[in-house]
Symmetry: C2
Subunit: 91 residues, 2 copies
DNA sequence: ATTATATTAGCCAAAATTTGTCAAGTTAAT
DNA sequence: ATTAACTTGACAAATTTTGGCTAATATAAT
């Protein structure tokens, strides 16, 4: 989700993993995993990426949070009613 | 959320914390925390509780999952768009 | 006020999860 | 076959979660 988006942006801008990783001050392997959804980005990294690629922070942070949500409901039976209720409860 | 529900059910049935805790084979203090939302119930406990109180497993597990979701988005800015997107993505 | 019962809070260690690093492995292009 | 880009797996360090114990607090009855 957010990983795909970052990869897309990175490729559109012809930046290599190791170059972007350097900018974020992280290991290349880690960024690779993050783009592929194996690991989570840190929130701060997302904020920095939104600057680097000139994207709205809201958009990227939202995608990032979606991944977190999906991870917590992953494998659970009642995802849909739970999400709906959660949505209600925050409004 | 799920804690309130369990407490409600327990009180309606005039069961003491320590009695219910015994049935669930857990520490009384732990159950107290769970009812108050300080700690999560284990999924198995919820299933057992649905039998004890004759409630639908779906209802209780859903409330339980809502709590998990709320915890992961707690403090985050873009809860609402993220929940909406998550909902879309699972359908 | 004292006792008895019920609930909550605080602390700590065990267990589980997450995170970062490194080295080895793939893939794709030349 | 060599090289550059990327991916993967294994591992330790760090962080978070969990469960249990004990003590503190609250409530009610005598």
């Amino acid at each position: 989700m957010i990983g795909d988006k970052i990869r897309e942006l990175r490729e559109q801008n012809n930046i290599l993993l190791r170059q972007l990783a350097a900018q974020l001050d992280m290991d290349t392997a880690m960024l690779s995993k993050m783009e592929r959804g194996d690991r989570f980005f840190r929130k701060e990294d997302i904020i920095q990426l939104s600057r680097i690629f000139n994207q709205s922070e809201e958009e990227l942070l939202t995608l990032w949070l979606v991944d977190k949500i999906l991870k917590t409901i992953d494998e659970e039976e009642y995802k849909e009613p739970a999400l709906k209720l959660a949505l209600k409860s925050i409004k």
